[in-house]
Symmetry: C2
Subunit: 208 residues, 2 copies
DNA sequence: CATGGAAATGAACGTCGTTCAAGGATTATT
DNA sequence: AATAATCCTTGAACGACGTTCATTTCCATG
């Protein structure tokens, strides 16, 4: 019957992440405190540190969960439209990203409010990020067929970053506030302009 | 000789902002503490609160200074190239933005790490932001002459946001790290693609 | 020079993340 | 089943943080 403590640890870990997520979701990243959390899950403050190195590691775990949910939302949105043209898919992708941010503003902000992570960390969000970029790269594959894969990944990354920038500045009430519908239009505009420009540039290269 | 205290207050204010800026520049936003700051400028901790409502207000003052310097850098870069075509100017603008971020990474990050500002604040960064967007809108004026000014401001804003996104994700070592030269290339790429797409779309509208 | 009011002081307060000696639980041994 | 050995959890304690406020110090004025 080896592993009774282990079960308890796993349960506590899950409870901690869930409670922390709830707290971040409706009080923001700074509203996450060790004492409140311990009270909410019914454990001692020290217990948190038997599972996570520090509070940042706990926040990182919540962020990983958020990123996974975002990736899932994107995957679901794209599932129903595999046959449409690339432009429409990319726009849909951008709108889904924006929609997710509108639905989970504080959880999404927490991803970027967390400072630089140390190196000795067991968390690997890179895989989730790669899958996210993959969702962008796939439509690009049809739009720019004869581009080398590595280069296409970089293009996908910059397109993603561009949309991210629009959403990011759109969320900040300072920096010229803009209504959501306008942000949505800006996303569509930049994606389509980007696509047009990219294929045109590619065709120009071919002729030369 | 009325106003000796006032002079001292102004000197203290300047010293506080300067010291806070130094501290943020080489220790990051979180490295700014009231006690260290007081020790550095040689005043009591309470003195800070006779000039700033709280530490966030001080950070906001530093951020305003940073934004002003960014705007100045952009203005200088554009001053020597008023006659070039719009695309080149916009790319130059993006590179200047990126260069500024490379030179002042922590000061720039502080702008976005500061949480939501209260309403009863005497600081108005909006003017500086408007001037920044103005530098983007001016070249666009030549690129899209028959677009209404308000719409062009929105386009300028999304182009700025797109470049900001690329720089922003480029600065985060997580999220697929990319060398500066590649970030620079991505900026040029997205700006030119954006311009191509925008004018093409505009011409298409005209024909229809 | 005296004096009234404004401004600076720094000890004190409450809260934060984090630690660690002490105590309790779980497993291994007889 | 009882004891020993090991691990784990606990929550009071620590240092540092932002912020406040009774006290002291200073300056402009009569």
């Amino acid at each position: 019957m080896t592993g009774k403590t282990q079960k308890r640890r796993e349960a506590l870990r899950a409870a901690l992440i869930e409670a922390a997520e709830r707290r971040i979701a409706d009080s923001g990243f700074r509203g996450l405190t060790a004492r409140d959390l311990a009270k909410e899950v019914g454990c001692a403050v020290g217990a948190i540190y038997t599972i996570f190195r520090d509070m940042d590691a706990l926040a990182a775990a919540v962020n990983a969960r958020t990123t996974a949910r975002l990736e899932q939302a994107v995957a679901i949105a794209l599932a129903g439209e595999t046959d449409g043209d690339a432009r429409r898919q990319l726009v849909l992708l951008g709108q889904t990203y924006f929609g997710f941010v509108l639905d989970n503003p504080r959880l999404w902000s927490a991803i970027f409010e967390l400072g630089y992570r140390g190196e000795g960390d067991d968390l690997k969000p890179e895989a989730e990020h790669a899958r996210l970029i993959g969702h962008v790269a796939r439509p690009l594959e049809r739009l720019l067929p004869d581009m080398e894969a590595a280069r296409r990944l970089l293009v996908a990354r910059s397109l993603f970053a561009a949309v991210h920038g629009i959403v990011s500045l759109g969320q900040q009430s300072r920096f010229m506030p803009v209504p959501p519908s306008e942000v949505s239009a800006q996303i569509a505009f930049i994606i389509e302009a980007f696509c047009d420009g990219a294929v045109r540039r590619r065709q120009g290269e071919r002729e030369a």
